[in-house]
Symmetry: D2
Subunit: 299 residues, 4 copies
């Protein structure tokens, strides 16, 4: 299966009483489908996957799978502190219809353990597994050599979501070490999306809510319209940056989706954190600025 | 409910195919009951709780609850990256018959988040919750002030399993800040058990397999036989130290239990790690040394 | 003394043989003075202060002090793993003419130790000390309560360089806890400069080389021309972001300064890291984009 | 040069006003020489090397070099956040007469950077450099492969002070990967000294003050008297453990040396920490226990 294009990492909606909000998920799917994204990645860190119980997890996957348009792929985030539960979670997601697994590492900084984990889980699930390389969140550093070794030996691992900056230089080193078989997705909120696409990324997999802008960026790059892509990208970096703020990124995205009528609430599960109203206002000031420039953005 | 005495943190047995081994759990319960421990703590880090799926977790608790002698208390380890799943796990354990929860912190180094987590989870579960203060494993530092605040406001939190060395000085600081209402259990493999009991610990909650030695230590301290307690303790520190080795402690304990006929295998779930044969031999050399000294230890 | 405005954190130039390059320092001073910045901060992390020997450190301070125009303030970075050497370094910098100290914490995550360190070093040096709150680099988290306590008790501590995102919310919490006496500088490469100035920051202290853009931003904010400030800021965020990249920020800034004829080389002391040529090209493409928009930037 | 045997890591004495105390250093040298240790390692973490200024550092080395008996080797600890200052510090120590350098890593978790640092510093200093592998203190993990690579390419690196537990298994892996050319010193306070010597360690390099006990252990092992070595070791583990306590190890060792009339004070430089009196009493109770058993220990 080929993964390519723009895959938003989406937040999980809750009602004010803290329970799951499936109706908001359905609206989110329609919202993203209308933006022509290539698929959705659920239950990543941004999706508060680690704050869900097992039954909630199943319910979320079930709603996505049943509502997602056929042409959109469903990627499910899996991360566990050991190999067996990761394999179990991945297989359960596959059995519910996941097209691919976004597979985060266990909390063990040792190459043999990491290689074994990726090998075993991908062998068990037998659908594409995307290495999640995000040391700022996972605390785990994966060297170019280790990633190349995993990609060479694990037959279902051909993709990486690369969030170990500076990403461009690691992309080139990976291309050298692992060859073209390893496909790279840019992420980090989209902060370096243009430069990553220029270096050969096959797409962007991140939580930026105004995903139509990334789709347009991807299309321009794909068509080789680099200057037009650059101009677009430079315009939207201020917004990308603000959505991507440390800690409160989940809260901010939920505030956008609530204001746009997609989510019922902006509730984030404890211990949060939550963005304050001023931070939300500052976000929409940037959207307004883009609208004034001629971008057709909802707000 | 009063928690006091020796509570082994017990490992979870697996068969060679990786599946749970309930028969070994039953033998382990009998083994520990014969050593007169006051209860068992299951599903701590040593119990590979983080490597179990939710159904496996339920099965483990169920076997323990159904087989544990009435007079022994069952403590169940709970740790989750957010408040809701921790509360769900804790309530499920309570509903299965847990007497108390050993509650590890979420991975957020912020006092307000930690205080909120402990308050909410203990409010939800309404049985005694023991603060698990083990920065070397959790990565989270809890100050004396924070712990005292939690103990003062959360009505079901009156115990702490203290593994933030040097433990003696933190015990005194906690006694100053939180008063006698907060009861301290020593841990860290038993490395400082005697000195902790001398400073007022109400017991030891740790994975040392030769638990009869800690029971004897506890009894001598309780009866005020301090010199005899010291003599015993100094004899057994070499063994305590060897069992407690970083990383391979789980594997070592399983090797002991296998050799003693309690566990079917010494299997540790990936990514392990496993102790090598020489390390296991070095362990039993220490046991032999104690036997030669007159201690009636199985080996 | 009042610190207010734009204070570039400047890199330290080396020749190709690795030795200090005082001539480049002199050109850098002239370069920055021409951009109307309010002072310079030397020997921060960006200044590779931790890669200099004590005599080199003295030489660097000496060149800056002797060449810096009277109206510009000299801030010297000090960070040491313990209190005594930090005090010694700070006093030596003061004796060489430093106007203020940018004081990083020791590597001890304990409130009493941190408070004692800031109190003692600032008592010893008796010139303004700026708390450097940058957990991503120092590994040390300073809570709002701790910072407020330090600011209340240490008479020479009235400023903080705040790099613990999200910065806006921490600024408001600090304003609540410490009152207006504690002045906040924004930093983090300038990534949130506009929003920080809007929330009351007294200036920006960061390594962005095109400092004239921050000076212009500061002036517009100061004059209350917020929409014009926003428009400027949104234009320059793509460049700010690219200069600020993790790890290679020092290298990138040196490449700019070399290309502009300010530095003789772009050498970074081992273990670097160094930006690759493509990353440097991508930087100047953004500068070109700004020039095309009408900004008078050197390149 | 051959390094072999017992090398105490020694603390640095201060007077009550915080200044260096050379008279105590002279007494310490005589004290350790009388215990027949093979050399001394100064300015390690235990030596508060990171709390000394450059001139203090020079003075300390100078006193040691001038007073140390000819047959004892002087090892000087060097650790710096970058390669150049580490090389400068190492060369300065060599020029003052250091026989070898105990070389800690920079704070960069990247194999190429670490290999480059060790290669360059050892090439510059051209006397034996001992890799300091102590992740709990340095935060840096060095894999067996990396260490073997460094040992193979850097001609002055043939020793490692191994403090990455479990040490025995890493020793065997290193023997496999690097061969007999790489000599291993045990450390970690002596916690695993006997088992390390059994696995082939060439000595122990650690801060245990009652060094005559380690010398006796080493001699018995060297003569192949393993059971007698084991018996001795098991007796002293309780004391080893107590001296080695996290954080307060420096303070405890200074309290011993003060009580024995070697150090004028037990002062530790801020931010300490300091052991409380009870912890010191508990230490001497263990010494008393050993004396009662027939060990001729000062107290």
């Amino acid at each position: 299966m080929i993964l390519q294009g723009i895959y938003p990492i989406v937040p999980t909606p809750f009602l004010d009483d803290g329970s799951l909000d499936p109706a908001s998920i359905e609206r989110l799917i329609a919202f993203m489908a209308a933006r022509r994204v290539h698929g959705l990645a659920i239950m990543g860190a941004l999706g508060e996957g680690h704050k869900l119980t097992e039954p909630e997890r199943r319910e979320v996957i079930s709603v996505y799978r049943s509502q997602l348009p056929e042409e959109m792929q469903l990627i499910v985030g899996v991360r566990a502190p050991a190999t067996d539960p990761a394999a179990t979670m991945a297989c359960a997601a596959r059995d519910q219809g996941a097209d691919a697994i976004l597979l985060g590492p266990p909390g063990v900084q040792a190459d043999a353990a990491l290689a074994g984990y990726y090998q075993r889980v991908s062998d068990a699930v037998r659908i594409p597994c995307i290495i999640h390389d995000y040391p700022a969140v996972t605390g785990i550093r994966m060297s170019v050599e280790l990633i190349a070794r995993i990609a060479a030996t694990a037959s279902h691992i051909n993709h990486i979501k690369l969030e170990d900056p500076p990403t461009g230089m690691k992309m080139d080193a990976l291309a050298q070490a692992a060859g073209p078989a390893l496909k790279v997705f840019g992420a980090l909120g989209g902060m370096y999306a243009f430069e990553e696409l220029e270096r050969g990324a096959v797409g962007i997999m991140t939580g930026f809510v105004y995903a139509e802008l990334l789709v347009e960026l991807f299309d321009r790059c794909k068509q080789g319209h680099w200057p037009q892509a650059a101009a677009l990208f430079y315009d939207i970096v201020p917004l990308i940056r603000w959505e991507f703020q440390t800690g409160i990124g989940v809260s901010l995205r939920k505030h956008i989706l609530k204001r746009l009528g997609v989510f019922t609430t902006a509730a984030v599960r404890h211990p949060g954190p939550n963005a304050d109203p001023k931070t939300v206002d500052q976000l929409f000031r940037i959207v307004r600025h883009l609208v004034d420039k001629g971008y057709a953005l909802d707000m």
